[in-house]
Amino acid sequence: MYSRQELRKKAQDAIGKPGTLGPDINLEDFDKSDLPHPYLSDQELMSLPKAEQERLIMSGLDLTEKERGGTFFQKDSRVIHCKSKQEGIEVIPIKQALEKYDWIKDYYWKLVSVETDKYTATAELNLQDGYVIRALPGVKSIYPVQASLYIDKNGHQQIVHNIIIAEEDSELHIITGCATSPHLKKGAHIGISEFFVKKNAKLSFTMIHNWAEDMIVRPRSVAQVEEGGLFLNNYICMKAVKSLQMYPTTHLVGDNSIARFYSIIVGAPDSEYDIGGRVFLKKPGTRAEIIARTISNGGNIIARGHLIGEVPGVKAHLECKGLILNGGRIHAIPELEGHAEGVEMSHEAAVGKIAQEEIMYLMSRGLTEDEAVSTIVQGFLSLDIPDLPPQLKAEIDKAIEASDKDMM
């Protein structure tokens, strides 16, 4: 473990280092100063302005908290609500964790390297907050924990670091929504996430992004899955953004561990998305699956996927399907890397348009052309995601349905 001092030193050295992918961003263009929003009680949370509530609900936040196991809510730089509703599931602001708990040192910057690029560097040097969510050994989450990272002030740069830990034999479900206030045009979000899935634990992480037209988004995440563990990662982004670049990495370090990534991206005009997932299969019996559905809708989408099979007896599949609709561009870059005999890896990539034959088939069942297209698009985006709690499936379905209005 590095001391904070050592981390800061490394960060200072990397602060000028551009990311390997995506356009370089001048972070000085955004204001990262602290905005002292007050902490909200349960009551106050429910009485947020309506437009704001809608944005939050769209990104999966349930303000009534009825079917949620806990809530973390950060507005700009400040945590304004944070609680767990289930014993054995901890939800703690990371700054508080860094001050109070010694164990956090075993996780903080353990998977993501602070010197990766300027975004990781600034996350150490200018950390605002973020969450630590942990399921204690054997604890199974009844309802998903919700975490919202909300940007309210125009021009603000939000910098967070999140740590998610599913201890041995635990089961943890998280839904995290990132959104911006209705009046916000410009902003930046930099988020470091480190996921620890321990022996035989199960973690599902569903992320719904609702950004704004001039937003810069640079998440940096790495996950580590131990023996028999399962990491299920769902990513939904259906809104405009100026530039979003992320390439989360997962290391399957224990026998028979599993990683499954599902992403659904619907672009918007003048928006750039460079997204993907990378999984290292390091132990026998590990499995990985990366599945992406993208619709250009006038945007520019690069959909990456990279599977690295390091030992025999691993199995992995990559599937990337793109639909060009309303203009735009989709660039699918699937990569497979086998380093040993007996790896079983495959990929399927297709970029196309909606088949006329399918439209007419539906029209012959009475739908108008527009209804037929929308039905096909909804079908294209609907993924059967196993092991996902019903509340989360409902949130994903809701997001997909809402996207329809933007596309048509």
């Binding site: 088939y361 539906l362 012959s364 069942r365 009475g366 108008t368 052309e369 039905t375 909804q378 079908g379």
Partner: protein, 258 residues
Amino acid sequence: MLYIEDLEVELEGKRILRHIDLEIKPGETHVLFGPNGSGKTSLLMTIMGYPQFKVVGGKILFKGQDITNMPINERASLGIGMSYQRPPTINGLKTRQMVKICSKNKEEDEDKTVELAKRVNFVDFLDRDVNAGFSGGEIKRSELLQLMAQNADLMLFDEPESGVDLENITLVGNSIAELLEKQIRPENEKSIIRQKQARSKMGLIITHTGYILDYIIADKGQVLYDGVLSCTTNPREILNCIGQMGYKECVRCIVDKN
């Protein structure tokens, strides 16, 4: 009534249907025979309104309206439905949802969907994507289920019984007969004449085997040969003739007889 007059159809610049005259009155079901590639599917697709089948001459009237240039969905709303020979797969759309689309039943009426599916032994397929990986016989049952939900007045069946196994053929045959109001053994008490008067459904069924004739009363048989409708007579007679002499001879013999 469906009324087709001197219809000329081109597909990709090639004339595939010539001088088609066809009239199906309310309550009538016709059977269409013809060798592979003779244009049977093309005729059905043209009636349904597929724009790649370009009408270059003649006209199609349905319920008194000229539908020659009407979009597919408007023809569907007017009461034309089709059971396809080779329908496309629609990924992510569940058969259950498709049945609801057909019945215009947007709100949840699960019971009705399941009840319909039971009749063609298709309940287990409701949660599968439309036509995804369906076997030949399963496609036919899926298509039939959709038509049952649609409640069209003119039903176009493209080889509805081919590929259907012996156990399901009875279900399929009887369901089609019921849809077309052409059961061989009427199930209710109404007199035959009263039933005949009540009939309004129209059918056009493509078949190679004629098995469907074991389940329905067909009014007329037609043979499409090389893009031309070559004869109109009792369907059983046509089937026997084709069986004995082949299409080519059969078309000639019946033409001569007429």
